[in-house]
Symmetry: C2
Amino acid sequence: MNDAIPEADARADRAADCRPPALNYCSRCGQKLSRAVPPGDDRLRYVCRACGQVHYQNPKLVVGTISEYDGRILFCRRAIEPCAGLWTLPAGFLENGETVAMGALRETREETGAQVDIIAPYALYNICHVGQIYLMFRARMRSPQVSPGPESSDVRLFREAEIPWGKLAFSVIEATLKRYVSDRRSKDFTFSMGDIVPGKGRF
Amino acid sequence: MNDAIPEADARADRAADCRPPALNYCSRCGQKLSRAVPPGDDRLRYVCRACGQVHYQNPKLVVGTISEYDGRILFCRRAIEPCAGLWTLPAGFLENGETVAMGALRETREETGAQVDIIAPYALYNICHVGQIYLMFRARMRSPQVSPGPESSDVRLFREAEIPWGKLAFSVIEATLKRYVSDRRSKDFTFSMGDIVPGKGRF
């Protein structure tokens, strides 16, 4: 079934899928799309003048965990672009049919092999310039056992002093961790929101 | 610019846009799509065997507010399907480029004409069977002034005893309100999560 989709292509598409793609053709009828403001709307959309379909593009939810075992935090090292070789918290796109917690558990399992239990939603970050909303959960590892999935080259548990601050993949992960380390001292993990703005070429 | 997109079509598409649509053609190259599990993936996707594009479909975020003025809660009556004639809280799909709070304020303004200030994120509901995640905020109206937008036939401020429980548009709105009315008594508005499961034909 899969022979026509090279593995590298599928992965690159998935990793680069962070800005709404240009739409050329109508996914319903196959005709060329136009850009227009539909009646009753107030912004440019991709619209099909042949069949009338309006193709909305909306932000995507990325869900993940900040998981602990015995005071150490679970990290994975990215085996794929973007940011291959850098460290991150397990997280990925929410799939249809999943709750946000189910998605966060799945991504954690896929990327680190860890079995974790969700404690509570912890932080939401708006990353408007790439159309992503990150929702991170606090979680507890059932055991220290890990096993890197295909998207990770390494999985480690770091104590606070070992966090690889200069080698983190994304600003949103850095922001989550900074807040978490601070909240851990005060033991106040109230759910919070923040914004990640364009900066150092990462997000 | 808009003459080829009948208003009724655009609105119906928008209202019905609650399940992932079947994709027939590749939006990149216009060729017929297939269903296949891409290499390294574990679920069926729409894939293009001509250009290699994988077309992911992900849940959408719906953002809205539960806004108060002088103890009364802001409602709008739906002028459009689904559930025309029934009452709801202002909410709608998050747009690209918006933070979740910006989206909730925009939807509130568009549907009710009210100027409100966000107090805090209040509740997240997973509605897995329609691929939607609702995120509702508590908010405060700056004045009691309202003005129904094109998607509302009426806008009202209801005291608790006046809430039209039997005439609410969606289960997620009923769940949000039930919790809110209870939390108001205890004055504990801790952020919470819940699931809406298929039931009475509403969501």
